[in-house]
Amino acid sequence: MSLFNIFNVAGSAMHAQSQRLNTVASNLANADSATSANGTPYKAKQVVFAATPVGENGATGVQVAGVIDDPSPMKTVYDPKNPLADAKGYVTMPNVNVVEEMVNMISASRSYQSNVEMMNTTKTLLLKTLNIGQ
């Protein structure tokens, strides 16, 4: 039964999407963190998805291939009163694009929803298959 495999496929996708949502939450929470434990400003994180085979006969799930630092340039804000300001009065701020993160969040939650619905449909089909010949 390939239908059982759908649970694995949808499960892997849900896991990946929730990790993406987690990253978005972390980015949004730290959108204004000008410093961190190692003294540098927070860098936005992005997840990279990769297709991965699940079980036999051609099912493909999702895995998080890695979490990378966003390569976009850091923002600089002119604020001479800030203790973190450099000699010219500029403070380096995180490269979090709040609008982009919100879009990312909606996309992740919608994809998560699709996978939940997929699981529900599969469950209904399997339960009906169990009643075959009765």
Binding site: M1, S2, L3, N5, I6, V9, A10, S12, A13, Q17, R20, V48, F49, A50, A51, V54, N57, G58, A59, T60, G61, V62, S107, A108, S111, S114, N115, M118, T121, T122, T124, L125, K128, T129, N131, I132, G133, Q134
Partner: protein
């Protein structure tokens, strides 16, 4: 009599197996809607069903002798269920060819067809039972 029974039920059994497999392929597509460079796949249901029926009737009721431990038992698998790549309707920057609306529509469509085959198979079994019980 038994091979006649087998023949009666064969169509919906083969159709169910293919629907089952297609459901898994479509689930993989939906799960990978956000994976870069993922190529959406599907199977040609008509061609697969025809070749599966042909393969099944050719060996209906005949079991291959398998005297050695390494011999294949000759159960007719879902023959010719070759997976094809979907032609993308719109290009995507990240190389992903999943059209989520089309995939979800196909997923629901396939689920309903699966239920249809299940219902028909159930009716056939009930009909046979009515004949047997009198």
């Amino acid at each position: 009599m038994l091979d006649r029974l087998d023949e009666t039920l064969n169509f919906h059994v083969q159709a169910l197996r293919l629907r089952d497999q297609r459901q898994q392929v479509l689930a993989s597509n939906i799960a990978n809607a956000d994976t870069p460079n993922y190529q959406a796949r599907d199977l040609d249901f008509r061609a697969s069903l025809q070749s599966a029926l042909k393969g099944a009737t050719a060996s209906a009721g005949v079991k291959l002798a398998a005297p050695g431990p390494g011999h294949l038992n000759g159960t007719p698998g879902v023959a010719g269920a070759g997976l094809l790549y979907r032609t993308p309707s719109q290009g995507n920057v990240d190389g992903n060819t999943v059209d989520i609306d089309a995939e979800r529509a196909a997923f629901s469509d396939n689920a309903i067809h699966y239920e249809f085959n299940l219902t028909r198979l159930n009716r056939q079994i009930q009909g046979l039972l009515a004949v047997i019980k009198g």
